[in-house]
Symmetry: D4
Subunit: 238 residues, 8 copies
């Protein structure tokens, strides 16, 4: 038996996705080792839930290992709390755009993680902030713009009603991301999660609380399918 | 010490409310005894959570006791699952009107209990059905009419987002009543309750799951206050 | 204000979906009225969670109203516990096929509801039964066939690990439906729901416990998007 | 689509309320930006859940932006953990007074948030401390004074019985605010919340745990209604 | 190893208590066998949670076994849902009296079980009904009588505040029994249980939901101690 | 209305108890003020949940107010995390002794709080450590000694089985105190609480998690009763 | 893709176990089909959670299919609520014996399911009834006999302390099975499950609530290992 | 009664295990005292949940007590967060080997605690890292090696599906250890625990969240049994 850590390097081939590394419970040393492994395998590294302090430690460790001549340090994204290395690829226009909506600026970390995970796979996205349902006119004013998005990712804390209202108004795939913002019964995102699952809007799907990365990968699965169907259609001609 | 049941006959004097009797865990015999006690004290009896079968049994027991010459049998309200005796008083126009909204016809029992409890205190109400947030245009179309209501009671199951949207659009007191309609995470009304408590709309208050009677009494407290302030104002003159 | 029930007849136009009616808490009379309303509006009626007894009562009520000359009674689907009227449209090949997987035959009701809801929108589906993860070879044997499905809907009770394993093996959109089958900690589907939300597989999305209809509508949103992208691509040419 | 934060500046017009900003998950920079935006729009800023450290940082940032000649710094209210800017308006006697009750001095933060939120809308309030139900005589001694309040806001941790006892004694609107004080089963305010929702007192309504601001806005909705009814009555004459 | 059922016949000697049998999950045959075993050992049988139907079946089975000449059938107590055999002993005045309080007549089954379990050990009790805290005057009116009770057992559903108020007013041992009466958050007695545990009243103890038997045994432990201390004191003289 | 804090100084007269002050959510200033108030009223002050740091701050504040000539500083009990002032009275032999048992040395803080609260009321107690049920012989070896205790207070974390085993072996009043020691399902004391409430041992009562003070007051209520019965018996003579 | 049900016929080869069928959510027709399939494959059928009514229906359906000449009907085990077909094999002495303990006769169904599942694999077992921890002497009296068992399966409802005490006294593998017997906090077996997981006894393992079959299979895994090690040892000689 | 701490020194004789000390809630002083006591009794000390800081403090305290000439300091295992003293014994080949599997490197602490606890009893183990079910090929690649292990301990966070898949593939005893790694619904290990208990794989047993020590002791009970059966078999001859 093999006691070494092993990377799931076949993930891109099987699923079309890079392997994201969940950084929260890992030490800077562990993260550095994984990033070097991915780099050696020619893969983009995306490490989520990395604080600024841990990111700095990783950068130092990498610099120690690679020498200061290395022109290409990893990038820390403070809002998204993520490390990427090397930089994400340019956006692929074939994917169209994803809209990432958020009820308030407290949801920004989750929305940013989703957007960064999309960017790591070449998917462009737009952020639509402060469209909580307690002031409905703000959402209604964005409706026309939102019609152009291929997939809608709606982040919401508190009672989590934004994805429900959205999925009642627009026909695209809508992915709800509960956010752990709030106090009392909404602390930890539980009320938002339950509200999204219990939603009376048809066809809303949900991911785990604050799982911005997961929502992005669900959108990617959809966009890969749409592109696949489209290339088949293009080949077939009109 | 006194082992007999005792009615809270001072409730009307203290609170301006009749004592409602919760019928669910009481036998027809117990309900009959309480109704006779209230009748003797000159009080209107409102018994909630009474099935059609139990209501019929109570009617038989009362007929046995009072003789068939009694021209005034109690009334069972099947939608609201309540018994009243004697009939509620006429509506007092000084109270204005209360709007009772409901997301779907599955919430009708709770909405009806609230309306009947209001009627027992002389408060008129209007029912606004099928205004769930998954089809927002239906609620928006009622907005002008709703502006004329003094208090809004919003009943909702599933994710319970209706009171949140409502309280973001209108300035009146809004009382949310979670309804135990739904399945999975919304079974028992838990998701709706959490959604209403976690609401991002300012000044929404909530009562227990399916507590239509309680919502009505909260509205009554508000209307009694408003009338009291108004009569003081009228006396003071302009 | 209007106290009548109102149907969300704009749903097809807004979302491309028929309005499904949740039959569990509605009486046969209420269901009959809604079905007649949808019929008048030229819409297909899909009523979920209808027992055989309630379905028979609805059929009798409709026959009373329409006369026995009506050649077109509603259809009850006992496995899916649904009523439809008129029959669902023929499958539209542009949608491709959806695979509906189930861990065991106890999940059949939920899987059947999902398949019927897809059929009501012209989407063909295949059922893949008995592929629970405690006997992994059964799932692995189906893998090649599953590659041809556009969307995967995975129903599972107990610990709910099927969608996780599936989403680690295949790149399509995967929608997990927790099933309320099991006892002890899995009673009510809670363990399956938590397992799917907590999944370590990237891009798995989840709907409420036993919400077969919701999973179908999520698949429909995806397929409509893919078709739309495809027709744009076809117009553009290669 | 517009990625900038947007304030709900129509809230005063729609609801008669200023937009309160929930400061807990926002940085000093984000709070400063919002406060400047509200100031520019001529609105009073009320920011809740702001620690003394964060408040000082906001003050420094505002001073940097406005210059030290600005004679009007924001005010931090340490007990209520809130920032206001500019000072709240003078109390409007037409609103009458609200009584804010608290079971013990551990509830003071929540009670103070409620009182400050009322003050920001020109509503005067009285604080009635240490009237927990384990020493009932203290509450009974205040009963006469409490009759003069228009609305009662009752804050309580532990078992949360204070609003129940209060609503059984007095006829005014009573709003219960569970407080996250206690240990074991009352940690986080869960027992108090459940106790208030389960209350046997008729017409008690509840807001989320520690939502002093929400209770104040519910009281404001009631007082605005009462004043509106009163001015209509005054115009009508006796 | 011995596969036969075995009774805990030493319980009276160890604890001064008869062994109560929990009848809910036992068949009439199982209950009959246990009762015969206790009878043979000269012990009083107390079987709790026995419906009228099951009690009748037990009586038939016992009559079959003992012949109709047996002059001493078991007694079913319908309110308490218990069987006893032979009749409980006369009350022992040395124990003094226990007061069993109940918030409403829906709590009667639990209160009756407690009283019967006390009677089986020779302890007299008084029932004080309808003293819920929403109408506090009813409890205050009983206060003088309650001072004469040695132990107070307070049964309450809903928010369960009765034992808290009681333990703040009186110095005796107070045992709270949550009752599974109520709906929504109080369904199953959970809110009452949490309220009693979280109580701010000093020295209130609690038993499991609806455990009337357990509350009685706790009272018995106290009374046995008091009597033991008293006989020691009497022996010692003044 | 009176906005000042008010002490429940009648508690000793009503209940025979000093008012304990829960120090966890109070500042050193607030605690100091309360202690001075109690001192002025001639009452012993018992403040629970006070860290060493906060205790030192209170001592400094008191020294500032009273001058350094004050020969009688408050006493901090680090194991029990409590402050007392002045020292507890000598033990009153009429109360007999209470045994405080604990499953492991991690329960020591709770056991010590209970013992100190007893001491503040003149009740002597013995500590019986390390008698957890996983090594049953240790408890069985103490059984004879335990028979001499008047009341048994059993503190236990983890699965909380100690009070159950104890109450099956000994006839005295047994009060279970769940302790928040453990991890996973026993974190926060929830498993211990549920285990004690669900106990199959007759007459075990329970207090809130870690409520050592409450268990002591429950024991005091029992001992006061026993002493009262005893003095009545002594007066009556043999 | 194959829509037919498929049996996991390789389970015996992979795991040494027959496939048990969970009968609770299956119709008599579904169970009959599965049993015939297993019979055709030469496998013993074990169907759990089958009521007497459903068992009779299965027997009728099998008789219809096989003709009345079939000399070998399936056997229903009413206490264990299981069907087997054909009869279980004779016990294999190489396995030694398993002891199945139960706190009270209410746990008999679960204990019987475990014993039957063992018997289906040739493992003999002994039932040790009524050894709940509230009367510890009964368990202590069995200790010597229990030393001869190879594996201990301990079924317990209420607070579930039996496996904890057992695992502190004996060195064998102990498997705890929580039973859904009890009321209030122990309803559904939740308290027993938590108590066993939180146990302070080293090396106690747990299965799902009422999963008698699972406990038996865990014991079988252990016994197969022991036998395998033993045959290796025997081959090796002394 | 004896107030001193007492060690369960009979544990090795009764159960064949050393007494592990749970260090989390103990001070360095308490741990030092216990370790000295065990040393005096000739027992190996294993203290779990000890941070590096606390371990250093214990080492200093021991050095103070024993003098610096003591050649044998305790050993801190940082990954396993444990202290041992003296070093564990050499592995006993009669036990064979245990495989400890882990879904990801975040589970390493728990897996290491299990391995160290095995080592303290002379049991050798192998670590199999990074075999989570989202990349199934990694687990399948290890299958042959895993067949040689006598017992499988599977640690998993998130949805906890690893032990389920494992127990469906391999016949040995499988012990699942939920790990408190994850966020949202998997925070604290709750989802993993529920998933393992609800598992559809036959004969999987579970221990408390993060209870690596408990899983090791369960494996030890099994291995001791197998060795015992084997020596009996060897004595018996072939």
């Amino acid at each position: 038996m093999n006691e070494d850590a092993r990377l799931d390097l076949g993930r891109r081939q099987r699923l079309g996705m890079v392997e994201a590394v969940w950084g929260e419970h890992k030490s800077a040393e562990q993260i550095t080792a994984v990033m070097l492994g991915l780099r050696q395998a020619g893969e983009l590294a995306l490490v989520t839930r990395v604080s600024a302090e841990k990111a700095a430690a990783v950068e130092r460790l990498l610099a120690d290992q690679l020498g200061s001549g290395g022109a290409d340090p990893p990038q820390h994204h403070p809002l998204a709390r993520c490390l990427t290395w090397p930089p994400p690829p340019p956006a692929d226009p074939a994917f169209g755009r994803v809209a990432v909506l958020s009820g308030g600026s407290s949801d920004l970390a989750v929305a940013s993680e989703a957007r960064l995970a999309l960017a790591c796979h070449g998917v462009a996205s737009d952020l639509v902030l402060d469209v909580g349902v307690a002031g409905l006119h703000r959402l209604l004013a964005e409706l026309e713009g939102l019609r152009r998005a291929r997939v809608l990712i709606a982040c919401a804390g508190m009672e989590g009603a934004l994805p429900t209202v959205l999925a009642g108004l627009l026909p695209q795939p809508v992915i709800g991301v509960p956010v752990a913002v709030g106090y009392g019964v909404s602390a930890g995102g539980q009320a938002a999660l339950m509200g999204m699952l219990a939603s009376c809007a048809p066809g809303l799907t949900v991911v785990n609380i604050e799982n911005g990365y997961g929502a992005a990968m669900a959108a990617l699965r959809i966009l890969q399918l749409a592109n696949g169907v489209a290339s088949a259609a293009r080949e077939q001609g009109p």
